[in-house]
Assembly symmetry: C2
Homo-oligomer: 253 residues x 2
Amino acid sequence: MTDQAPTACILVIGNEILSGRTKDTNSGWIAERLTAMGIRLRETRVIPDDEAVIVSVLNEVRAKYTYIFTSGGIGPTHDDITAECVSKAFGVPWEVDERARAILRSNYQSDADLTPARLRMATLPRGSELIPNPISKAPGFKIGNVYVMAGVPRILQAMFEGIASSLKGGPILLSHSVVSDVAEGKIGDDLAALQKANADVDIGSYPGQRPDGTFRNAIVMRGPDRARLKEVAAAAAALIRKHGGTPTDEPPL
Amino acid sequence: MTDQAPTACILVIGNEILSGRTKDTNSGWIAERLTAMGIRLRETRVIPDDEAVIVSVLNEVRAKYTYIFTSGGIGPTHDDITAECVSKAFGVPWEVDERARAILRSNYQSDADLTPARLRMATLPRGSELIPNPISKAPGFKIGNVYVMAGVPRILQAMFEGIASSLKGGPILLSHSVVSDVAEGKIGDDLAALQKANADVDIGSYPGQRPDGTFRNAIVMRGPDRARLKEVAAAAAALIRKHGGTPTDEPPL
């Protein structure tokens, strides 16, 4: 099912994610928010703190999707190279932004406290709009369709909430789940037929475990029309009963 | 710091990850295992259950990295399209594998139980090697440099452990962390100079919170030579003391 809704890509930038030292939770969090806004996340990519990679991936994805959200690499240390890379990708100077400098300055007692390292956080691609940071002041920024945010989850979330209302959403994909103990292998053929007969609804099947360790499978119907989801969900429930199962209302995990 | 170590890319395949409904934990888990084996994870990409995307991304990354690990899309339902896509990417037939069929058959009472949906899990790219699945039997597979594994974390982990000893690792990147309460902005300039003077060691700086909510920053030294890491870590600790902090031995979060 494809539609005309806005699309998005998340770039998680940082060696510490690729080494496994830090676990990325930002992409899953943004994914949920985008889904709720009717923006279709098409890709998440985790890439290293490597200038050539960041510049080329940025230019690839910003031409391809409506919105790009990046996470990480905008702090004050030498390994925070995202802003400089965004400048290079857009072919604009990387320079001190006076608005950002004023915000940072208000954090400190004197100009001397605005060390080169701290000033790095106010050095942005020319033409950027600032993204407010209510947690620790140093702003994110937006240039073109690219939204550059911090990697620390609490700060990223606050930054995202600050821009959310400016994003244009599309039709929201609703979902309706039918959970049961029936294994996928049993219902797979009937489910394929159900999908074929209902091309306007996306039907997914997700096996997993309940917190108590017991098996359960969730059939998830997705689409913009609640009435159609209900119809297809009723057919899915009937199919589970046919195979000896009992569909439940429990939320999918 | 680049080296001659083997490289890797993880492809997480599934609409349910991009919608935010399911949170990916597989990539972080594999990342840690690869780091411990001296394999450099260069990229993780989350992509949808979309044939054109899967085929083109697979062909892009398998030419670029030593190892590709995929997660998801090898179950018995219509939305499990990974194996068919891998066949298309490699230009080989997608056909029932008799070894895989025998493994599945042993799970059931009669041939009739081997429904088309279940047989889907034994339908593989021609020329694949099987990856054992000690949890739920249906195997993963390897073709070329691509390792195709299940999305359910417990099964993925079991499959990975089954292939781990066959992967060729490189020099293991060791790490040494120096944690303190000193903010990045204070030490940023000295840290940049420290990195410049020690190009054989990767120095990262990662702010975050302790479980009790207090701020801490971890300076992480990474490299293959433990003695060098210790030297640079001693310099980093001195730098923290210079800025009024106390370096601690607490593990980075």
